[in-house]
């Protein structure tokens, strides 16, 4: 049997990157501050993970304004959704493999 660990996505090794994906898969658009609050991380930490996810084409960034304040929101891409789903399936097959 193939080792199911191979199917795990390396990008989702990070708890924060996986957390961002979990939030974006059930919410159309989420802004930076809400992500920060929900994941309980610092600005710099979250920003670097978001850049990583964006570079991999898993999330889209929209820069906007609310009044004069910047409001950056994030949403998941088709590729991101697929990668997340595959990762979940890999985790599930690992659980089945253990039993």
């Amino acid at each position: 049997m193939k080792n199911p660990i191979e199917n795990l996505n390396k990008i989702f090794d990070s708890r924060i990157r996986l957390g961002v994906m979990s939030i974006l898969v059930v919410n159309e658009e989420v802004n930076f501050n809400d992500l920060k609050k929900m994941l309980d991380v610092t600005d710099g930490n979250l920003a670097s993970h978001l850049v990583n996810l964006e570079e991999n084409g898993y999330i889209k960034v929209h820069k906007g304004f609310i009044g004069r304040k910047t409001n950056t929101t994030y949403s998941i891409t088709k590729a991101g959704e697929k990668a997340f789903k595959d990762h979940i399936e890999a985790l599930e097959s690992m659980i089945r493999g253990v039993r």
Partner: protein
Amino acid sequence: MDSHHPPQETLQDIKRIMERSSRFISLSGWSGICAGICALVGAGAAYTQMQSYRAGRYGSGIAAADELTTNLLIIAAITFIAALVTAFLFTWLRSRKDDVPMWGRTAQRLFINTVIPMAVGGIVLLRAMQWGYFELVAPGCLIFYGLALVNGSKYTLGEVRYLGYGQIILGIINLYWIGAGLYFWAAGFGLLHILYGAIMWWKYERGDR
């Protein structure tokens, strides 16, 4: 967390984050219990008024019936406001404890999706009363409130759906049992709320303190 972390835990984490980010989960069981108590007190007050109307203490004729209607509407309004305020209070306390914004995106979505069926129901019942169909008020309240709960349950604790089913079933039975409206109303808004609140408290909040 990483690949060395047990996959079960990772999956549970993912599920928790998804729920927390998309549903308003700070509804407190105490809100249900208090709303239920308010409803029972309100139903008791309405019952007393109706008894004294039947005993003739309101006098007789159209004026007496109008006076009873006015008093019942006042009782209904006070009950509704009291239930809303107490329900709001306990949920506000819980959301503060959970560190979830009371008026965040999840709460807004929950609000709009429950208010639409309730507002429509309110208009329908007002028209029904203007046409003299008072028998429809109790089953109508139960049915529209039940629909609002079923609709809203997608945006909060999933169990709210079952509370909604309960209200709808009571409302439909009441449609075929006209005249017992107040009892059905008390059972739905009073007892079901208290039962639901107690279960929710037991399930989610018991360990909090």
